[in-house]
Symmetry: C2
């Protein structure tokens, strides 16, 4: 299957061949996380925990079910979700008095409790997060990690004394995001969504989009400033230093298992996965090239390599299966292991270890005594190169347009007067989605692509996955 020829088919094929997920579960869009895929997700979850713990967020775990009465409290929010939630209506042999929804996101579960937890300005900021699964009744075509009905994700929810403090939280979220994306070697765009595309109930939404090789963008998550839009209906108030009661300002930040989908789609090639070293279940695989008369010697050298790497905290695996080396190379290429070490009689006699990088296919060698430093430095290069290539690919996929004709299969940039009417007109005529305007101002002088009025606002649009 060629990535260039049919990206969608290639993607599904790679997910299946690398055994990241099994979509034969008897409910559409609810897939089984098989061990290899789940190890990647667990590794990402661990980075999320590290980042959020380090920035003084407390991990919590809220119930999955939300009573319909709580779910209805914020009008825009419920309007945005009621066509896509699963309803629990019966328990045991009884019909429930109050129906319950399975969380599509946890605002309506958390905020009645935040109203109990927040009393005084000394309780603020309140910074919490959880790593849970969420449920959406997706009616479009499903795709592993990218469009599913049970979604693994994290959501952080914070409460602040005022607008500006919530704004500082949004900035902190951006730096957490950068750390995560660096580990995944993924480039991204931060665009403030249009009013008609923001999160239901949000004051503003910044979408986090990455660029897929088929010219489409994939939204990986978002960061929202809610102002006091939720704190008013849920009555989350605090007593300020002057003894007056004020509503908190809130933010949320969430990213989903689409991170795994992006890793597969952005980095993979026709041979299989190419995993960023930070999330690879195995960063290094050692393949001994056994010669009959030298079994013990080669196996011993391979075991030594393994033990050196493990001691240094590198996730290494020795493939001692009774199989041909070529067949092992093939397997580990599908699995995307960052670096392969080969060790044959010839290598031992020359006092070298031969390596092959998964990302570029480049080969080389180093002395066995320098294994840990060499491997560490090669893995660092792989990481840096993977991100640089992905960034270059995204940047070269961003095209400025001044006409709605012959739009390329990529991300487009154009002048926009900011009027909703012009935005809708553009989306209809081009069949693109407006992703929004840069969160950090970009200098621009031009005309609105639709109405030709002069404008200093640039907008981004693309087809989305």
């Amino acid at each position: 299957m060629k990535k260039d020829e049919d990206f969608g088919e290639w993607y599904n094929d790679i997910v299946e061949r690398a055994n990241l997920s099994d979509k034969r579960y008897p409910i559409k869009g609810m897939n089984v996380w098989t061990p290899y895929g789940w190890r990647i997700m667990r590794q990402i979850d661990q980075f999320i925990r590290e980042e959020l713990d380090a920035t003084d967020h407390d991990e919590v775990c809220f119930p999955l079910l939300i009573p319909e009465t709580e779910f209805q409290k914020e009008k825009d929010h419920i309007k945005g979700f009621d066509a896509e939630v699963f309803w629990v209506t019966h328990a045991g042999l009884n019909e429930l008095d109050v129906r319950m929804v399975m969380r599509p996101t946890s605002e309506t579960a958390m905020y009645p409790m935040f109203a109990l937890w927040v009393r005084s300005h000394t309780d603020l900021p309140l910074k919490t997060y959880q790593l849970v699964n969420t449920f959406r009744y997706e009616t479009k075509m499903t795709r592993p990690f990218i469009r599913v009905r049970e979604i693994h994700f994290f959501e952080s929810h914070t409460c602040h004394v005022d607008y500006d403090d919530a704004e500082r939280q949004v900035d902190e979220d951006f730096s957490i995001l950068e750390n995560l994306m660096d580990r995944l070697c993924l480039p991204y765009l931060l665009l403030k969504r249009t009013d008609w595309d923001k999160f239901p109930g949000a004051y503003y939404t910044v979408g986090i989009d990455t660029y897929m090789p088929n010219g489409r963008t994939l939204q990986l998550g978002s960061i929202h400033h809610y102002r006091d839009n939720f704190s008013k209906p849920y009555e989350i108030r605090y007593e300020n230093a002057e003894g007056e009661w004020e509503y908190v300002h809130q933010t949320t930040y969430g990213m989903s298992e689409r991170l795994v989908g992006a890793v597969v789609g952005v980095h993979g090639d026709d041979k299989g996965l190419v995993l960023p070293p930070d999330v690879a279940p195995f960063q290094v695989v050692i393949v001994p090239i056994l010669k009959k008369e030298h079994y013990d010697e080669i196996n011993k050298a391979a075991a030594d390599l393994l033990s050196q790497l493990k001691k240094a905290g590198i996730r290494a695996h020795l493939d001692d299966r009774d199989d041909r080396p070529g067949s092992k190379f093939f397997d580990w290429e599908i699995k995307g292991v960052s670096l392969r070490l080969e060790l044959g009689l010839h290598d031992i006699q020359n006092d070298v270890v031969t390596y092959a990088r998964r990302d570029t296919g480049d080969k080389g060698s180093f002395p066995p005594t320098e294994t840990v430093t060499s491997v560490t430095s090669i893995l660092a290069s792989i990481k840096a190169d993977m991100r640089a290539r992905a960034t270059e690919s995204m940047n070269s996929g961003i095209v400025i347009i001044d006409s709605m004709e012959n739009i390329p299969e990529s991300i487009v940039k154009f002048g926009w007067c900011g009027d909703e009417a012009c935005g809708h007109a553009l989306e209809e005529r081009t069949e693109l989605n407006i992703l929004g305007t840069p969160r950090n101002d970009e200098t621009f002088q031009g005309r609105c692509l639709v109405c030709s009025r002069e404008t200093s606002t640039v907008a981004y649009a693309a087809r989305t996955m």
Copy 2:
């Protein structure tokens, strides 16, 4: 609140004062894991992962929802659960064609997939586990961690070539269990449940019970041998070396958040929680006893202590709040921190650090240069002593009886002929639950408590939480 006087009230009060869980969530029996409680659970989860990963179990994550059609396949199983599951009947604005249950346990989710995964004897043993939440429509009075409707738990599911290999898995589960319970300083009984109390669909069930200070037992989990009871309806078969198709034999092993409930109930005292050092979010708290003229000196010494402990991998916290030491002591006693270090001017002048053990209240001191070795050794003593005390308490709570009159509030042991009729008669007359018979034979010679026939079988019974 006195633990001795009203254990149930004391338990609820401690959970609330230590802020382990918030039961004000608007659905009965679905509580919020607040940060401190969730940190304890996360630590336990980590031990579970370490143990199961080390014994070659693969972590997976199966969908939460199970179609009614799959759920119905094993008759005993569905009979055991259909009065206690939550039903999803609608999605978005539509009624579903096939209703779905929220997992009460995952046999019926996993086994249709195992039937696809297992083909050959080389695929066996298949050893998987997951850490997820499960849902039961509990109609009895709820209690945090002990009887809830959304239950955090792990479940391991394995497939084997035959009965004996599954039996070996059960033995491995026992050793995993011992490692976990050692970390939690909890004693336990392993009793083979009666036929009328085994897991629906199991060939046999071994219950894991601990002993609570009110004389009742608390079931923490169980280990099941299914034989081929599930593999037949779900058609989980493999081709053996001779090319014949055979059904796998299966086991499961699961334990729930009741582990947290047991830690609270078994170890706590009238001052609050007493946490086993291995699961305490903070193992050590440092409280500086500040004197105005010596602020800097004392703070610096306290910061030094903190940094030494952290470097050694000990979870330590410096309480530098602007508050009286006595009030800090009180707070950390409620939270159950294993060891308190005090550092005042007097200590610094005498070149000592003063400590107080949470479990015994014992005080002592050590030189600051020996901080890490002293703390490590005190924590080890706390762990050993906590388990020894809990074990002694359980053992002294096991009483041999030879009459159904005046039964003590504890675990009772008695002769049982093994007949179901005698078992039911005993349960009715004494209002106890038979917990079962020892998995490892205990020598016994006596008479059945009900029918007086001679028997070499001893059974255990108790009131259960």
